[in-house]
Protein backbone atom coordinates (compact mmCIF):
# COMPACT_ATOMS: atom_id res chain seq x y z
CA UNK A 1 0.00 0.00 0.00
CA UNK A 2 1.28 3.41 -0.89
CA UNK A 3 2.15 5.90 1.79
CA UNK A 4 -0.48 8.38 2.82
CA UNK A 5 -0.02 11.75 1.21
CA UNK A 6 0.94 14.67 3.41
CA UNK A 7 -2.23 16.66 3.03
CA UNK A 8 -3.43 18.69 5.99
CA UNK A 9 -6.40 16.40 6.48
CA UNK A 10 -4.27 13.25 6.49
CA UNK A 11 -1.68 14.69 8.84
CA UNK A 12 -4.24 15.88 11.38
CA UNK A 13 -6.13 12.63 11.15
CA UNK A 14 -3.05 10.43 11.48
CA UNK A 15 -1.57 12.35 14.42
CA UNK A 16 -4.89 12.54 16.24
CA UNK A 17 -5.65 8.86 15.84
CA UNK A 18 -2.20 7.71 16.88
CA UNK A 19 -2.16 10.05 19.86
CA UNK A 20 -5.54 8.72 20.95
CA UNK A 21 -4.36 5.16 20.55
CA UNK A 22 -1.24 5.86 22.61
CA UNK A 23 -3.28 7.61 25.29
CA UNK A 24 -5.56 4.59 25.53
CA UNK A 25 -2.55 2.27 25.80
CA UNK A 26 -1.00 4.43 28.53
CA UNK A 27 -4.26 4.53 30.44
CA UNK A 28 -4.57 0.76 30.33
CA UNK A 29 -1.03 0.12 31.50
CA UNK A 30 -1.38 2.76 34.22
CA UNK A 31 -4.50 1.14 35.65
CA UNK A 32 -2.92 -2.29 35.37
CA UNK A 33 0.25 -1.34 37.24
CA UNK A 34 -1.30 1.03 39.78
CA UNK A 35 -1.95 -1.59 42.44
CA UNK A 36 1.43 -3.39 42.13
CA UNK A 37 3.30 -0.05 42.25
CA UNK A 38 1.51 0.98 45.44
CA UNK A 39 2.16 -2.44 46.91
CA UNK A 40 5.88 -2.27 46.05
CA UNK A 41 6.16 1.21 47.60
CA UNK A 42 4.42 0.08 50.75
CA UNK A 43 6.54 -3.03 51.10
CA UNK A 44 9.66 -0.93 50.77
CA UNK A 45 8.38 1.34 53.55
CA UNK A 46 7.47 -1.55 55.86
CA UNK A 47 10.75 -3.38 55.37
CA UNK A 48 12.73 -0.22 56.15
CA UNK A 49 10.72 0.43 59.32
CA UNK A 50 11.21 -3.18 60.36
CA UNK A 51 14.93 -2.93 59.80
CA UNK A 52 15.54 0.09 62.01
CA UNK A 53 13.12 -0.54 64.89
CA UNK A 54 13.69 -2.91 67.81
CA UNK A 55 11.25 -5.86 67.87
CA UNK A 56 7.65 -4.59 67.97
CA UNK A 57 4.23 -6.18 67.71
CA UNK A 58 1.91 -3.42 66.49
CA UNK A 59 1.38 -2.08 63.00
CA UNK A 60 3.64 1.00 62.74
CA UNK A 61 1.89 1.96 59.49
CA UNK A 62 -1.15 2.88 61.58
CA UNK A 63 0.85 5.24 63.77
CA UNK A 64 2.24 7.04 60.73
CA UNK A 65 2.48 10.75 61.39
CA UNK A 66 3.94 13.55 59.34
CA UNK A 67 5.68 16.52 60.92
CA UNK A 68 7.58 19.15 58.93
CA UNK A 69 8.10 16.85 55.96
CA UNK A 70 9.46 13.92 57.99
CA UNK A 71 7.40 10.81 58.63
CA UNK A 72 7.28 9.13 62.04
CA UNK A 73 6.30 5.51 62.71
CA UNK A 74 5.96 4.42 66.33
CA UNK A 75 6.60 0.80 67.26
CA UNK A 76 5.11 -0.66 70.44
CA UNK A 77 5.47 -4.04 72.09
CA UNK A 78 2.59 -5.14 74.35
CA UNK A 79 1.47 -1.54 74.55
CA UNK A 80 4.85 -0.13 75.46
CA UNK A 81 6.69 2.17 73.08
CA UNK A 82 9.91 0.49 71.99
CA UNK A 83 11.03 3.00 69.42
CA UNK A 84 10.23 5.33 66.58
CA UNK A 85 11.33 5.12 62.97
CA UNK A 86 11.78 8.47 61.28
CA UNK A 87 11.90 8.89 57.55
CA UNK A 88 14.22 11.80 57.03
CA UNK A 89 16.11 13.35 54.17
CA UNK A 90 18.83 15.80 53.34
CA UNK A 91 19.31 17.99 50.33
CA UNK A 92 23.02 18.47 50.96
CA UNK A 93 24.21 15.27 49.26
CA UNK A 94 26.73 15.37 46.45
CA UNK A 95 23.93 14.42 44.04
CA UNK A 96 21.23 16.35 45.89
CA UNK A 97 18.57 14.80 48.04
CA UNK A 98 18.73 11.38 49.63
CA UNK A 99 16.40 9.68 52.07
CA UNK A 100 17.19 7.82 55.27
CA UNK A 101 15.16 5.89 57.81
CA UNK A 102 16.44 6.38 61.35
CA UNK A 103 15.20 4.21 64.22
CA UNK A 104 15.24 5.86 67.68
CA UNK A 105 14.74 4.26 71.04
CA UNK A 106 12.40 6.15 73.38
CA UNK A 107 15.27 8.05 75.01
CA UNK A 108 16.61 9.26 71.68
CA UNK A 109 19.38 6.69 71.25
CA UNK A 110 19.81 5.64 67.62
CA UNK A 111 18.89 2.00 67.15
CA UNK A 112 19.78 1.60 63.49
CA UNK A 113 19.80 3.58 60.26
CA UNK A 114 18.83 2.44 56.78
CA UNK A 115 19.39 4.25 53.49
CA UNK A 116 16.17 4.45 51.50
CA UNK A 117 17.03 6.32 48.34
CA UNK A 118 20.32 7.76 47.25
CA UNK A 119 22.05 8.62 44.02
CA UNK A 120 25.47 9.43 45.44
CA UNK A 121 28.56 8.53 43.44
CA UNK A 122 29.05 4.76 43.35
CA UNK A 123 32.30 3.80 45.03
CA UNK A 124 32.39 7.07 46.98
CA UNK A 125 29.30 8.53 48.62
CA UNK A 126 27.29 5.41 47.86
CA UNK A 127 29.50 3.63 50.38
CA UNK A 128 27.24 5.14 53.06
CA UNK A 129 25.33 1.87 52.90
CA UNK A 130 28.45 -0.06 53.99
CA UNK A 131 28.25 -1.39 57.52
CA UNK A 132 31.61 0.23 58.26
CA UNK A 133 30.02 3.66 58.02
CA UNK A 134 26.38 3.16 58.86
CA UNK A 135 26.84 0.86 61.85
CA UNK A 136 28.91 3.40 63.77
CA UNK A 137 25.65 5.19 64.63
CA UNK A 138 24.07 2.16 66.28
CA UNK A 139 23.44 2.57 70.01
CA UNK A 140 24.75 6.14 69.97
CA UNK A 141 22.76 8.94 71.54
CA UNK A 142 23.06 12.21 69.60
CA UNK A 143 22.79 14.06 72.94
CA UNK A 144 26.40 13.05 73.58
CA UNK A 145 27.50 11.66 70.19
CA UNK A 146 28.17 14.70 68.04
CA UNK A 147 26.59 14.16 64.62
CA UNK A 148 29.38 15.79 62.69
CA UNK A 149 32.32 14.37 60.83
CA UNK A 150 35.65 14.50 62.63
CA UNK A 151 36.88 17.20 60.27
CA UNK A 152 34.10 19.47 61.61
CA UNK A 153 34.91 18.50 65.22
CA UNK A 154 32.34 15.73 65.59
CA UNK A 155 32.36 12.05 66.39
CA UNK A 156 31.50 10.59 63.00
CA UNK A 157 34.09 8.75 60.93
CA UNK A 158 33.50 10.09 57.43
CA UNK A 159 33.57 7.86 54.35
CA UNK A 160 37.02 8.32 52.86
CA UNK A 161 36.99 10.77 49.94
CA UNK A 162 33.27 11.43 50.46
CA UNK A 163 33.09 14.12 53.13
CA UNK A 164 30.18 15.87 51.45
CA UNK A 165 28.02 12.73 51.50
CA UNK A 166 29.05 12.02 55.11
CA UNK A 167 28.15 15.55 56.17
CA UNK A 168 24.82 15.30 54.39
CA UNK A 169 24.15 11.98 56.11
CA UNK A 170 24.75 13.59 59.51
CA UNK A 171 22.53 16.48 58.52
CA UNK A 172 19.66 14.10 57.77
CA UNK A 173 20.10 12.18 61.02
CA UNK A 174 20.36 15.40 63.04
CA UNK A 175 17.14 16.68 61.52
CA UNK A 176 15.38 13.46 62.46
CA UNK A 177 16.79 13.58 66.00
CA UNK A 178 15.80 17.20 66.61
CA UNK A 179 12.25 16.70 65.44
CA UNK A 180 11.94 13.42 67.29
CA UNK A 181 13.08 14.95 70.57
CA UNK A 182 10.80 17.94 70.08
CA UNK A 183 7.67 15.99 69.25
CA UNK A 184 7.94 12.48 70.60
CA UNK A 185 10.23 12.33 73.60
CA UNK A 186 7.55 14.14 75.63
CA UNK A 187 4.94 11.81 77.07
CA UNK A 188 2.05 14.06 75.99
CA UNK A 189 2.71 13.77 72.27
CA UNK A 190 3.96 10.22 72.41
CA UNK A 191 0.81 9.32 74.34
CA UNK A 192 -1.31 10.57 71.45
CA UNK A 193 0.38 8.09 69.15
CA UNK A 194 -0.47 5.15 71.39
CA UNK A 195 -3.28 4.71 73.89
CA UNK A 196 -1.32 3.91 77.00
CA UNK A 197 0.12 7.09 78.51
CA UNK A 198 1.37 5.53 81.74
CA UNK A 199 3.52 2.94 80.05
CA UNK A 200 4.90 5.50 77.63
CA UNK A 201 6.13 7.51 80.59
CA UNK A 202 7.95 4.45 81.82
CA UNK A 203 9.45 4.00 78.41
CA UNK A 204 10.73 7.51 78.34
CA UNK A 205 13.02 6.92 81.29
CA UNK A 206 14.33 3.67 79.92
Amino acid sequence: MAKMESTLKNMVLSLTLISMLMAALLGTVYTMTKAPIEKADKEKEISAVKEVLPAYDNDPMKTKKEIDGLTFYTGTKSGQVVGCAVRTFTTKGFAGRFDLMVGFKPNGTINKIAVLEQKETPGLGAKMTDSKFIDQFNEKNPAVFRLKVKKDVGDVDAISAATISSRAFCDGVQKAYDLYMKNFAKPVVAGAATTDTVKVKGGQHE
Binding site: M11, I18, K132
Partner: protein, 198 residues
Protein backbone atom coordinates in the same frame (compact mmCIF):
# COMPACT_ATOMS: atom_id res chain seq x y z
CA UNK B 1 18.27 -8.56 3.37
CA UNK B 2 17.12 -11.75 4.99
CA UNK B 3 15.32 -11.62 8.31
CA UNK B 4 18.07 -13.42 10.13
CA UNK B 5 20.51 -10.81 8.99
CA UNK B 6 18.25 -8.08 10.36
CA UNK B 7 18.72 -9.71 13.75
CA UNK B 8 22.45 -10.43 13.73
CA UNK B 9 23.25 -7.06 12.20
CA UNK B 10 22.80 -5.21 15.46
CA UNK B 11 24.84 -7.62 17.52
CA UNK B 12 28.31 -6.97 16.09
CA UNK B 13 28.46 -5.70 12.52
CA UNK B 14 26.30 -2.66 13.23
CA UNK B 15 26.53 -2.68 16.99
CA UNK B 16 24.69 0.48 18.08
CA UNK B 17 27.35 1.45 20.60
CA UNK B 18 30.65 0.42 19.05
CA UNK B 19 29.86 0.89 15.36
CA UNK B 20 26.90 3.24 14.95
CA UNK B 21 27.83 5.14 18.15
CA UNK B 22 24.22 6.01 18.85
CA UNK B 23 22.81 6.78 22.27
CA UNK B 24 26.09 7.15 24.12
CA UNK B 25 24.61 9.13 27.01
CA UNK B 26 23.35 6.10 28.95
CA UNK B 27 26.44 4.19 27.81
CA UNK B 28 28.63 6.61 29.71
CA UNK B 29 26.36 7.54 32.57
CA UNK B 30 24.84 4.42 34.04
CA UNK B 31 27.47 1.75 33.42
CA UNK B 32 28.84 1.84 36.95
CA UNK B 33 27.73 -1.64 38.00
CA UNK B 34 27.03 -4.79 36.00
CA UNK B 35 23.39 -4.88 37.03
CA UNK B 36 22.80 -1.30 35.91
CA UNK B 37 24.34 -2.08 32.52
CA UNK B 38 22.23 -5.18 31.91
CA UNK B 39 19.09 -3.50 33.25
CA UNK B 40 19.45 -0.38 31.14
CA UNK B 41 20.29 -2.47 28.07
CA UNK B 42 17.24 -4.68 28.45
CA UNK B 43 14.93 -1.72 29.15
CA UNK B 44 16.16 -0.03 25.98
CA UNK B 45 15.83 -3.30 24.04
CA UNK B 46 12.22 -3.61 25.15
CA UNK B 47 11.42 -0.06 24.07
CA UNK B 48 13.18 -0.65 20.74
CA UNK B 49 11.21 -3.81 19.99
CA UNK B 50 7.87 -2.28 20.97
CA UNK B 51 8.40 0.95 19.04
CA UNK B 52 9.83 -0.83 15.96
CA UNK B 53 6.89 -3.23 15.79
CA UNK B 54 4.28 -0.55 16.32
CA UNK B 55 5.78 1.86 13.81
CA UNK B 56 6.11 -0.78 11.13
CA UNK B 57 2.47 -1.75 11.76
CA UNK B 58 1.15 1.76 11.15
CA UNK B 59 3.80 2.93 8.67
CA UNK B 60 1.33 3.13 5.79
CA UNK B 61 -0.88 5.52 7.69
CA UNK B 62 1.81 8.01 8.62
CA UNK B 63 2.11 10.96 6.23
CA UNK B 64 5.77 11.74 5.63
CA UNK B 65 5.70 15.27 6.97
CA UNK B 66 4.51 14.30 10.44
CA UNK B 67 6.44 11.06 10.78
CA UNK B 68 8.91 12.35 13.39
CA UNK B 69 6.08 13.64 15.56
CA UNK B 70 4.36 10.27 15.31
CA UNK B 71 7.58 8.38 16.08
CA UNK B 72 8.26 10.43 19.18
CA UNK B 73 4.68 10.01 20.41
CA UNK B 74 4.98 6.25 19.96
CA UNK B 75 8.43 6.06 21.58
CA UNK B 76 7.43 8.25 24.54
CA UNK B 77 4.43 6.03 25.13
CA UNK B 78 6.46 2.83 24.96
CA UNK B 79 9.05 4.23 27.37
CA UNK B 80 6.34 5.20 29.84
CA UNK B 81 4.84 1.73 29.53
CA UNK B 82 8.22 0.12 30.26
CA UNK B 83 8.79 2.58 33.11
CA UNK B 84 5.46 1.73 34.74
CA UNK B 85 6.10 -1.99 34.36
CA UNK B 86 9.55 -1.67 35.92
CA UNK B 87 8.20 0.42 38.77
CA UNK B 88 5.60 -2.24 39.48
CA UNK B 89 7.61 -5.43 39.08
CA UNK B 90 11.31 -4.56 39.48
CA UNK B 91 11.32 -1.61 41.92
CA UNK B 92 14.95 -2.23 42.87
CA UNK B 93 16.20 -1.85 39.33
CA UNK B 94 13.91 1.10 38.74
CA UNK B 95 15.44 2.83 41.73
CA UNK B 96 18.97 2.18 40.49
CA UNK B 97 18.36 3.49 36.97
CA UNK B 98 16.22 6.44 38.08
CA UNK B 99 16.11 9.32 35.63
CA UNK B 100 17.74 7.32 32.82
CA UNK B 101 14.58 5.33 32.13
CA UNK B 102 12.48 8.32 31.00
CA UNK B 103 15.54 9.53 29.13
CA UNK B 104 15.34 6.50 26.81
CA UNK B 105 12.78 8.64 24.95
CA UNK B 106 15.52 10.87 23.63
CA UNK B 107 17.97 8.03 22.99
CA UNK B 108 18.65 8.60 19.31
CA UNK B 109 19.10 4.87 18.83
CA UNK B 110 15.35 4.28 19.21
CA UNK B 111 14.36 7.11 16.88
CA UNK B 112 17.18 6.16 14.53
CA UNK B 113 15.88 2.60 14.07
CA UNK B 114 12.33 3.86 13.57
CA UNK B 115 13.49 6.21 10.86
CA UNK B 116 16.07 3.98 9.18
CA UNK B 117 14.39 0.60 9.47
CA UNK B 118 10.90 0.20 10.90
CA UNK B 119 9.16 2.72 8.65
CA UNK B 120 10.38 0.89 5.54
CA UNK B 121 10.32 -2.79 6.50
CA UNK B 122 7.79 -5.39 7.53
CA UNK B 123 6.67 -6.12 11.05
CA UNK B 124 8.70 -9.32 11.52
CA UNK B 125 11.91 -7.82 10.17
CA UNK B 126 11.40 -4.73 12.35
CA UNK B 127 10.85 -6.92 15.38
CA UNK B 128 14.12 -8.76 14.71
CA UNK B 129 15.96 -5.53 14.02
CA UNK B 130 14.74 -4.06 17.31
CA UNK B 131 15.70 -7.20 19.17
CA UNK B 132 19.15 -7.41 17.56
CA UNK B 133 19.91 -3.73 18.12
CA UNK B 134 18.59 -3.94 21.65
CA UNK B 135 20.72 -6.96 22.49
CA UNK B 136 23.75 -5.41 20.81
CA UNK B 137 23.22 -2.36 23.01
CA UNK B 138 22.84 -4.59 26.07
CA UNK B 139 26.07 -6.45 25.26
CA UNK B 140 27.97 -3.20 24.88
CA UNK B 141 26.60 -1.74 28.11
CA UNK B 142 27.30 -4.96 29.99
CA UNK B 143 30.89 -5.12 28.73
CA UNK B 144 31.61 -1.53 29.72
CA UNK B 145 29.94 -1.85 33.10
CA UNK B 146 31.75 -5.10 33.92
CA UNK B 147 35.11 -3.50 33.20
CA UNK B 148 34.23 -0.41 35.21
CA UNK B 149 32.84 -2.36 38.14
CA UNK B 150 35.84 -4.65 38.39
CA UNK B 151 38.41 -1.87 38.14
CA UNK B 152 36.54 0.77 40.08
CA UNK B 153 34.73 -1.16 42.76
CA UNK B 154 36.55 -4.49 42.87
CA UNK B 155 33.41 -6.52 42.33
CA UNK B 156 31.71 -8.49 39.58
CA UNK B 157 27.91 -8.13 39.56
CA UNK B 158 28.18 -7.02 43.22
CA UNK B 159 30.17 -10.17 44.13
CA UNK B 160 33.30 -8.79 45.78
CA UNK B 161 36.53 -9.97 44.15
CA UNK B 162 38.84 -8.24 46.60
CA UNK B 163 38.93 -8.38 50.39
CA UNK B 164 36.84 -5.65 52.01
CA UNK B 165 38.63 -2.36 52.42
CA UNK B 166 41.17 -2.78 49.64
CA UNK B 167 41.59 0.29 47.49
CA UNK B 168 40.32 0.26 43.93
CA UNK B 169 40.74 2.52 40.93
CA UNK B 170 37.92 4.90 41.76
CA UNK B 171 38.57 6.77 38.54
CA UNK B 172 36.79 4.03 36.61
CA UNK B 173 33.55 4.52 38.50
CA UNK B 174 33.64 8.26 37.85
CA UNK B 175 32.80 9.85 34.48
CA UNK B 176 36.38 9.96 33.12
CA UNK B 177 36.57 6.19 33.60
CA UNK B 178 33.49 5.81 31.43
CA UNK B 179 35.19 7.61 28.56
CA UNK B 180 38.42 5.65 29.03
CA UNK B 181 36.68 2.28 29.10
CA UNK B 182 34.46 3.20 26.17
CA UNK B 183 37.43 4.32 24.10
CA UNK B 184 39.55 1.28 24.91
CA UNK B 185 36.77 -1.21 24.17
CA UNK B 186 36.06 0.71 20.97
CA UNK B 187 39.68 0.28 19.90
CA UNK B 188 39.68 -3.42 20.75
CA UNK B 189 36.48 -3.92 18.77
CA UNK B 190 37.96 -2.14 15.75
CA UNK B 191 41.19 -4.14 15.95
CA UNK B 192 39.27 -7.41 16.12
CA UNK B 193 37.07 -6.39 13.21
CA UNK B 194 40.09 -5.55 11.10
CA UNK B 195 41.78 -8.83 11.94
CA UNK B 196 38.78 -10.96 11.04
CA UNK B 197 37.74 -8.71 8.11
CA UNK B 198 34.23 -8.16 9.37
Amino acid sequence: MSNMKAFTNGLIKENPTFVLVLGTCPVLAITTTGFNGVGMGLATAMVLVLSNVFISLVKDYIPDKVRIAVFITVIATMVTVVELLMKAYTPGLYKALGIFIPLIIVNCLVLGRAEAFAQKKGVWASFLDGLGMGLGFTIALTLISIVREILGNGSFFTIPLLPAGSSTMLLFILPPGAFLTFGLLFAIMNALKKKYKM
